[in-house]
């Protein structure tokens, strides 16, 4: 058994098994599921990281069956980097969830809303984790579809774990967008199959899809994935859904789930289509810029804490699409700085946004409200959450030392190298807008000198989970060397 086979099995089937274990109503098994899922994801992605660095990209034919009928896994730097960040964010969010839904050992109030959340969050989240890991290792289009659907279904279910009417409505809307997005993707898959008779990413990349039908297929898949990634102007569903979910759910949705469909878009446009069309890349970049500006402006206008963070996700996702036109300045060339810079931003967003949502969760947990006006003075009682939010915001804004800073440096560098002046302005202005809305929250949290009176103590573990995620975003800004090396294994064109 090669290390690729061993660790890719661990990283996918560990969380899957854990989710089955967590289906049990017994609190001990619920917790065991979270631990098992976290450990297998962490260990598995670490093993794959090492393997990819040592041997380059690798593959795993599940059960010895190759394509077309069998399932093949493909392991390269991009996929492993996403696996690793998912594992880190996932493990800390699991730790958080363990305390957030009340002490899991006291599920006596199983019928209460909190009890329901506690009961179903763990299995749904572990299933979602399995799906994400599956996406990052998929080697064919249809496997991507199936994992994408599992991702979408479990994510929508997590939103509806919150009891409010708004959350239910948001969850419904999210599910509809998600299903239509996946089906548009499947339409593209079918069209490609009609044209080429293969679903293998590698095989399609070797053919180099071109012509009208593949172009229509790419357009359908892009619209579907853009809707699921909440790329401007398809973003309207995201803020209510991400803000409506329970706090650990928000963190997962904003930090990780949207990255799944983003990953597929990158795979399609670059790994399979070899860059697609320059006009298409520029269009995606323009939409990304629109997201940065419009998302930030809307974030500034919000009156609820989680809404503000959710709109910030819309804005930050825009940066990831600015990478598209910068990556291939002219046909046949690709810019390594755009690749590593854009993906570093994706990874730092995952860490920072999870930290911010968990920190915000702590603040609203403490005052039992989500209004910005209600959290005034919370900073004095929850200094660590305040710290986590601040440091996360620092990284989003691209201020040093943080992963966001090095990511932006690289992205700016690629813009200079490829002489794309307009994106430079977008990147710079977006950072300033980010600071404005992060500061808005910090100001409210510091507003009063005394802590609010009706204050519910927050478990230490929840504070630590948020702070550790923020520290990880910061640490990556001091040492991104290994991650950059990993991202370059295979690069955008791994075959």
């Amino acid at each position: 058994m090669t290390p690729f086979e061993l660790w890719s099995t661990v990283v996918i089937f560990g969380p899957l098994l854990a989710s089955v274990v967590a289906l049990s109503a017994r609190p001990a098994l619920l917790r065991a599921g979270l631990v098992l899922g976290s450990l297998s994801a962490l260990v598995g992605s670490a093993g794959l990281w090492r393997a990819v660095i040592l041997y380059g990209p690798g593959r795993h034919l599940l059960g010895g069956w190759g394509q077309p009928l069998g399932i093949e896994l493909w392991i390269d730097g991009f996929g492993v980097a996403m696996l690793a960040v998912t594992a880190l964010v996932g493990a800390l969010t699991s730790l958080y969830a363990n305390s957030y839904f009340g002490d899991l050992s006291e599920l006596s109030v199983r019928e209460s809303p909190a009890g329901r959340g506690a009961r179903f969050f763990a299995p749904l989240w572990l299933l979602l984790w399995t799906a994400l890991n599956g996406i990052y290792l998929s080697a064919d289009l249809f496997n991507l579809y199936v994992t994408l659907e599992i991702l979408g279904l479990s994510a929508a279910a997590i939103v509806t774990l919150a009891v409010s009417r708004q959350a239910t409505v948001a969850g419904m809307r999210y599910l509809l967008v998600s299903l239509i997005g996946s089906l548009l993707y499947l339409l593209g898959v079918a069209l490609l199959y009609v044209q080429y008779g293969t679903l293998s990413l590698e095989g399609l990349a070797a053919i180099g899809p071109s012509g009208p039908i593949p172009a229509i297929a790419l357009a359908a898949m892009t619209v579907g994935m853009a809707a699921k990634t909440a790329l401007f102007p398809f973003h309207a569903w995201l803020p209510p859904a991400h803000a409506g979910a329970p706090a650990p759910g928000s963190a997962i949705l904003s930090a990780l789930v949207v990255k799944g469909s983003f990953f597929i878009l990158v795979r399609l446009w670059f790994s399979v289509y070899g860059g697609g069309s320059p006009e298409g890349l520029v269009l995606l970049g323009v939409l990304g810029s629109g997201a940065i500006l419009w998302g930030s402006v809307l974030a500034l206008r919000q009156v609820s804490l989680k809404r503000l963070i959710a709109y910030s996700t819309v804005a930050q996702l825009g940066y990831l699409f600015v990478m598209f036109p910068l990556l291939i300045p002219e046909p046949g060339l690709w810019n390594a700085d755009a690749w590593t810079g854009g993906l570093l931003l994706a990874i730092s967003h995952a860490l920072a946004k999870a930290a911010m949502f968990l920190a915000a969760g702590n603040m609203s947990y403490a005052v039992a409200q989500d209004r910005l006006t209600a959290i005034s003075g919370v900073a004095h009682r929850l200094p660590m959450s305040f710290f986590a939010f601040g440091v996360g915001g620092l990284s989003l804004a691209g201020l040093p030392p943080s992963a966001g800073f090095v990511g932006k440096w690289l992205l700016l560098r690629s813009a200079f190298e490829t002489a794309h002046w307009i994106w430079i302005a977008v990147i710079a202005v977006g950072g300033l807008l980010t600071i404005a809305y992060v500061l808005k929250v910090l100001r409210y949290a510091l507003d009063r000198d005394e802590a609010p009176e009706d204050f519910r103590p927050v478990p230490r573990r929840m504070e630590w989970a948020a702070a550790l995620l923020a520290l990880a975003a910061m640490a990556l800004g001091v040492r991104a060397l290994e991650l950059v090396e990993l991202l370059l294994v295979g690069g955008p064109f791994p075959w």
Binding site: E149, T160, M172, Y193, V194, G197, P240, V303
Partner: protein, 115 residues
Amino acid sequence: MNPVDLYMLAGIAITLIALYAALTRAHLFWKVLAINLMGTGIFLILLAAPSRRTPEIADPLPQAMVLTGIVVAVAATALALGIALRVIARSDLPFLPDGDEDDPDSPGSTGEASR
């Protein structure tokens, strides 16, 4: 026109019509139904694909895909109906509200002015 192309065209037509319905129909059950139909249209395209390329050889792959797709569709439909029922239970209406209540910009918002 040979029957295979007819399947293809029918599949595309069903997909697009269903997509239109899913986007425009307001009633939640209509939406769920339309999404189901959209899936069926795509399955039709998939099933017609191999015969169009190599009519003489049976290709098991599309059938495997469609079978998997049906399973996914069943699960998705069940979840969608489940959540739709909850929406109806909580708001007494089988529709999604137009605006977004927590959005300070949307009509009917209760949000205070941002400062």
